[in-house]
């Protein structure tokens, strides 16, 4: 499958064309239940991760909880 380039947390990153958000998280070794994902400024619901297909140049933000006050 041809690669595409997405912008992940502000940095260019190659991903297989047609990859889903869930697939991306698995590649990154991240538990889907512990992150929130935004694609092109729209927040995805967790249950939509498997069917959310990424496209060339998509801007993806993956966030998690860290220590804070």
């Amino acid at each position: 499958m041809a690669d595409m380039t997405i912008v992940l947390n502000g940095q260019d990153r190659a991903a297989p064309a047609g990859a889903s958000v869930l697939g991306l998280l698995e590649t990154l070794g991240l538990a889907p239940g512990r992150v929130a994902v935004e694609v092109n400024g729209r927040i995805l619901r967790r249950e939509d991760f498997p069917r959310a297909i990424l496209r060339e140049s998509d801007r993806v933000e993956v966030v998690q909880f860290v220590g804070g006050g």
Binding site: R34, R45, F65, G67, G68, G69
Partner: protein, 259 residues
Amino acid sequence: MKSDALTIAGRSYPSRLIVGTGKYPTLEIMKRAIEASGASMVTVAVRRVELSRRSGPSLLDFIDTGKVALLPNTAGCSTAEEAVRTARLGREAGLSDLVKLEVIGDEKTLFPDNEGLVQATRVLVKEGFTVLPYTNDDLVVAKRLRDAGAAAVMPLAAPIGSGLGVQNPANLRIILEEIRDIPIIVDAGVGTASDASMVMEMGADGVLMNTGIAGAGDPVKMARAMRLAIEAGRLAFEAGRIPKKLYATASSPVEGIVR
């Protein structure tokens, strides 16, 4: 004897102490400090996953979310838009409507941007969030936040992380007297146990702190001290203190003294 619970937006929390999860020497110490504090709610920050670093242990591995509620914050946000976006991400990550709303207006003092705060509160309340805004000790702003639908108002005692204790007790008293319909939770500036007791004796509904515990020489011991201070202060408030008088009143009978 236990003091009564803290109620926010109809939900009841056994402890009136809310603790942060930042700046601990280790996650293991954080875990033990949270347990020692007895807190039923802990704040967390929302940040980009670091992709360059090999994923280590996750914060959530050290928090018993069956026992304590997560309160995601919007720390570091300097506009209403940023704060709203971060709040939405936090809700999706934690599947809870609670948010500690911060809109920072000044980097050196971390004082809040009140205009942005009120604006973001309106938006988030409309979206069903339970909004707990961190604000300064200003009655007018506190009223605006309440009128915008905030579930509680969280005025500072002193700048975040300063440990100065209550710098303006009169302002805090005014807020506590004038806003009776939603909880007032003192957030930021508490340095030691007596600071926490003092605001609880004044009638604050709760205290939120992070650095005061995490930065202490022994965070676990300080967490316990804060727990006791919050309970003691609350009980003293509920009991009703004696009026202050300038001159002495004898505690022992004045009759029957052997002369």
